[in-house]
Every structure is written in C-alpha cells, then in structure tokens.
C-alpha cells in the first residue's frame, strides 16, 4: 500500500487512490519504480471488454450456431480461415486471451504462493507456457495450409 507521509501530529496517514501512479519525486524515495501494475490493471479492463465480444462470439459460432461443435472438422476450419476476417478475429482473440490469462494467473500466484522461490518458479513456468501458446498459435494461424 502506497501512503503519503502523514503530518507528524495526526493519526491516520493520507491514503492515495488505488492504482494511482507512483510518486517519483517523493523525498527519501530510494529509486523511481515502474508503473507496471497500473498498466497491467488498465490492460485487464481493455482486453476484458474486447474479449467479452470476441470470446462469447467465438463460443456462440462454434458451439451453438447451426449444428454447433458437431459440424466442426478440418474442412470447416479451412473454410473459416479462407477469410482474413476470421483469421484476424482468431489471432487478436488468441493474443488478448493469453495475455489476459497470464496476467490473471500472475496475480493468483503472487497472492497464494507464499515462498519467494515458489512464486519465482511458478511464474517462470507460466511465462514459458504463455510464450509457447502465443508462438504456436500465431504460427498455426499464419501458416495454415487448406490443402494439407
């Protein structure tokens, strides 16, 4: 919790609004720290709003619209990915969902893993898996071959 210095004779310290940018000029501050957590917080809200439409739309098309999952096969994917619109949709959805989920799990790990070592290794595992998913998914969308 970031708190501004309280007047010496008052009890309660002044509370800074949550997620407000860090005070860089405060006297006595050892080193300016980054606003990463603020940007992560903003990213969760923006990506969340976009994912609301991208993911619910995806679920509706794939699981509910004419025949749902029963009609999905290689030919169906080839038909969809013939259109740049659906490739773009899937790529944006992949990147936003993976980053949104990675940041969410980062928060969960920070909250519940109590040992510093455990937190470190769980986050390394998380970032490795995120890198793999983003790389593999992007590669598949860009190099898809309908005549395979």
């Amino acid at each position: 919790m970031t708190t501004a210095a309280a007047p010496a004779d008052r009890g309660a310290p002044e509370l800074v609004a949550p997620r407000s940018p860090r005070q860089r000029t405060k006297p006595g501050a050892a080193k300016a720290r980054s606003n990463f957590e603020l940007y992560a917080w903003v990213f969760m809200r923006i990506s969340g709003l976009l994912l609301f439409f991208l993911v619910l739309g995806h679920l509706f098309i794939m699981n509910i619209l004419d025949g749902g999952v029963q009609r999905v096969n290689f030919g169906f994917v080839a038909g969809r990915w013939a259109s740049p619109f659906w490739r773009t949709w899937d790529l944006v959805m992949l990147l936003l969902a993976e980053l949104h989920g990675t940041n969410g799990l980062r928060t969960v790990i920070n909250d519940y893993a109590e040992r510093a070592q455990t937190r470190f290794w769980l986050k390394m595992l998380l970032y490795t898996s995120a890198f793999l998913v983003v790389t593999l998914g992007t590669l598949v969308i860009f190099t898809f071959d309908p005549d395979l």
Partner: protein, 116 residues
Amino acid sequence: MWSWVAHRITGVLVFFFLFAHVLDTALVRVSPSSYNEVIEVYKSPIVNLLEVGLVAAVLFHALNGIRIILIDFWESGPKYQKQMLYIELVLFVVLLVPAAYRMLLHTAETLFGSAT
C-alpha cells in the same frame, strides 16, 4: 466476496482450457485426420457436457468482468454493485439455459433418440 472468488476460479479454469485448446487446434498443421480425430472427442457426450461447463465459466467471468469495469469506471458503480450482481446472475441464467439446451440437443438425441 464470493463473486470475487468465482471470478478467480473461472478465470484459472478457462486459462487451462485455452492451453489445451491451442494445442488441439495446432493439429490442423499436422494433418486433417489427426485434427478430426481430436475434434471427435469434443463431440462425445461427456466432453459435450464439459463444454457446457466451459461456456458457463466463460459467461460468468465475462458478465462479472463487465460488472468490475462498471464498478471501477462508472461513478455510481460502487453504489449499485449489489444490484448489478443480481442483474448479472439473471443474465447468466437467461443466457446459459438456451445455450445449454442448444449445445446438448444433439447429445440427448444420440443417447435417447429423437423426440420427433
């Protein structure tokens, strides 16, 4: 409080599914038959039921996420957070029931025969 807990649990569940889902979709790059084989699993009755669970998890997380955004950015958001929770839960049921019906219809007909 419990909606915060449910938001975390559904978020983690959906994240793990996303991992598996990108891997299974990546099979389109291996061969049409291996992709089709894995997609057949999604069409089986038990996994079909799990998909309804996935849709429920995503739907809750999505609706509750909108509520969180409104609490954070709408000036009256904190004041109406409880009312928004009730609206969210009504929307959750109203949207999930027809979705589950449509998703399970084929499975039900396969298992128990067509109603018509």
